[in-house]
């Protein structure tokens, strides 16, 4: 029998996220695995290397909670919502401690995941001619094209110990489907030693199999599926709920104050038992502002051979 991979988020984090591990939490603005990040904080992990193209608020929170020693990233702000001050304090004032950072451009970081996923020694890209980034990050190197065009920049593989992502749905076997912005999730997952997926909905295999082109990760690439509805809040899940932009705007003030961000982490993460309690604290009224109207994709036919 194929194993059912559905486990509680608590168990998945306990098993796959160990102290000192390199953890990719991917989701490009969309489907950011906040609930999983919070569970890492609850379990008090330390010494983590966090990989996220856009660290976003979740990384500010993990830093404030003392979980993180090192960051691999390509954008250190929070979209429209401005600075991530816990990151800034760590980098600008080494407060409370310096933060090791490996920095790339978006495409460079994505190419690192690609090389990791495809077990390549390097991946070429054309982004860095003249830039100071290769000087800042000596992992960015060059290769001479054997076809005579000169040197091209390359990046080495990035292979997280575990990659955690959030998706709209998966079946119990571990087949994961998502729509909307799909980011670096497929590559970050295939590059990783283990993969944990939190989902809005666990569906029957028949639902997955009715539309196989929507599968981003086949079952073999997934170790644990955790049913965590609304697990991307305050980011969003296309078609399920919208981004909590008010929260993103509030974050600047919270994170600017070193005590206040710690208070926030205590109150909303450490003092909530799990994501359900976090949502309960958030309240239904707030949630109503995030609801979206339906916008159906429509159905296509895959066809079935007649006997």
């Amino acid at each position: 029998m194929r194993t059912d991979k559905v486990v509680p988020l608590r168990d998945a984090v306990a098993r796959y996220v160990t102290d000192g591990a390199t953890v990719a939490l991917e989701g490009f603005g969309h489907l950011i695995p906040f609930a999983a990040g919070h569970e890492i904080i609850r379990q008090g992990r330390t010494g983590l290397t966090i990989c996220r193209m856009t660290p976003d608020i979740i990384t500010d929170q993990l830093l404030a909670a003392g979980c993180v020693d090192r960051l691999v990233a390509s954008f250190f702000a929070s979209g429209s919502a401005g600075s991530l001050y816990e990151i800034r304090r760590r980098v600008e004032s080494h407060d409370p401690a310096p933060l090791a950072v490996e920095e790339l451009s978006h495409y460079g970081m994505y190419c690192r995941y690609r090389a990791g996923a495809a077990d390549l020694p390097f991946y070429p890209l054309r982004s860095y001619a003249g830039s100071d980034l290769p000087d800042l990050n000596p992992q960015i190197r060059t290769v001479d094209s054997p076809y005579g065009e000169g040197l091209v920049h390359v990046v080495p593989p990035l292979k997280p110990d575990v990659t955690i992502i959030h998706a709209q749905r998966a079946d119990g076997l571990g087949n994961v489907q998502m729509w909307g912005i799909t980011g670096a999730q497929q590559e970050a997952a295939y590059a990783a030693g283990s993969v944990v997926v939190t989902v809005e909905e666990v569906v029957a295999p028949e639902v997955i199999r009715s539309d196989p082109n929507r599968t981003i990760l086949p079952a073999h690439a997934v170790d644990a599926v955790c049913h965590v509805p609304r697990g991307a809040h305050p980011s969003y899940a296309q078609g399920c709920y919208d981004r909590d932009s008010a929260f993103y705007r509030e974050w600047t003030a919270i994170s600017k104050d070193k005590q206040r961000i710690r208070q926030w982490v205590r109150e909303w993460v450490l003092e909530t038992a799990d994501h359900e309690e976090y949502l309960a604290r958030l309240g239904d009224e707030r949630w109503q502002t995030l609801e979206v109207a339906p916008a159906p994709s429509g159905s296509v036919s895959y066809g079935r051979r007649q006997a």
């Binding site: 603005g29 979209g79 600008e92 495409y107 994505y110 054309r126 003249g130 912005i181 296309q238």
Partner: protein, 266 residues
């Protein structure tokens, strides 16, 4: 004077205002096919251009959205309103590899903390990189965009010698001029920064390996004002213009239809 407001008439918004910058930036999109829009001021400029001079400009976002038709102003390049009703959402490889690096983007629209004489952009550090005075957002897609977009337009919220220094503190997104100093490396396909719009005027580069020149001053700003606020000996075009201010309608659209929550308008 009639009570009928002339929407095409010049508004009197301050040249240093977001409305002014966004409206002047929007003009850069006249006749442009595909624009790669960053977050912030570029969002406003692109939205305004779609409603005025270029309704068919194709909006491309680094999140993978191609041909967006947002029903509301996007708060960020990964906003759900960019996805719903878009013509395509493609993989990151298709977006950065095929669309961008493959040469399909006409204009990249970026913000910056610093821009130097050659159109080099710093969005990484103010001060030293080891212990910076300000840790800026970093590259994001900017260094990828500058290498491969046909040209780049930058909007700066400040114009002073620290925002336009002789030399940037860190070169995040290089001018082709810098790239050309290492000719062994494959050169970027792009022109680099063609236009910089600031609260004082508009700077442009004429040649791929040339420097920024003052092409226009905003109303009420002198050439000397601009030169004094620039960190190098800024060249001035012989035919330097005075910027046409945004129209009344531009300002109305920005305030009443685009950024109704005043997220970017300040």
């Amino acid at each position: 004077m009639t009570t009928h407001l002339d929407l095409a008439a010049a508004s009197d918004v301050d040249p240093a205002s977001t409305e002014f910058l966004a409206a002047v930036a929007a003009r850069e999109l006249a006749g442009v096919g595909r624009v790669f829009a960053g977050v912030g001021l570029p969002t406003l400029a692109v939205d305004l251009a779609r409603r005025t001079i270029n309704p068919h400009v194709e909006l491309i976002y680094e999140s993978g959205v191609v041909g967006a038709h947002p029903e509301a102003m996007a708060e960020g390049i990964a906003d759900s309103v960019l996805v719903s009703g878009a013509e395509a959402v493609v993989s990151m490889e298709a977006l950065f590899g095929y669309v961008l690096q493959g040469g399909h983007v006409d204009v990249g629209f970026l913000g910056a903390a610093q821009v130097d004489r050659w159109g080099t952009i710093n969005t990484s550090f103010i001060g030293s990189r080891d212990r910076p005075q300000v840790r800026l957002p970093g590259s994001g897609g900017a260094s990828d965009i500058i290498a491969s977009a046909a040209e780049v337009v930058v909007v700066l919220r400040r114009h002073d010698p620290s925002a336009l220094p002789a030399e940037v503190d860190f070169c995040t997104s290089p001018s082709p001029v810098l790239a050309s100093r290492d000719p062994a490396v494959m050169q970027p396909r792009g022109f680099g920064v063609r236009t910089v719009i600031t609260p004082l005027g508009v700077l442009r580069r004429r040649d791929r390996l040339g420097e920024l020149e003052l092409a226009a001053t905003h109303p009420g700003v002198s050439v000397d004002d601009v030169r004094a606020a620039t960190g190098w000996d800024l060249a001035v075009r012989r035919d330097v213009q005075v910027t046409r201010p945004p129209s009344v309608e531009d300002v109305r659209l920005l305030r009443e239809e685009i950024d109704t929550v005043r997220l970017y308008l300040r």
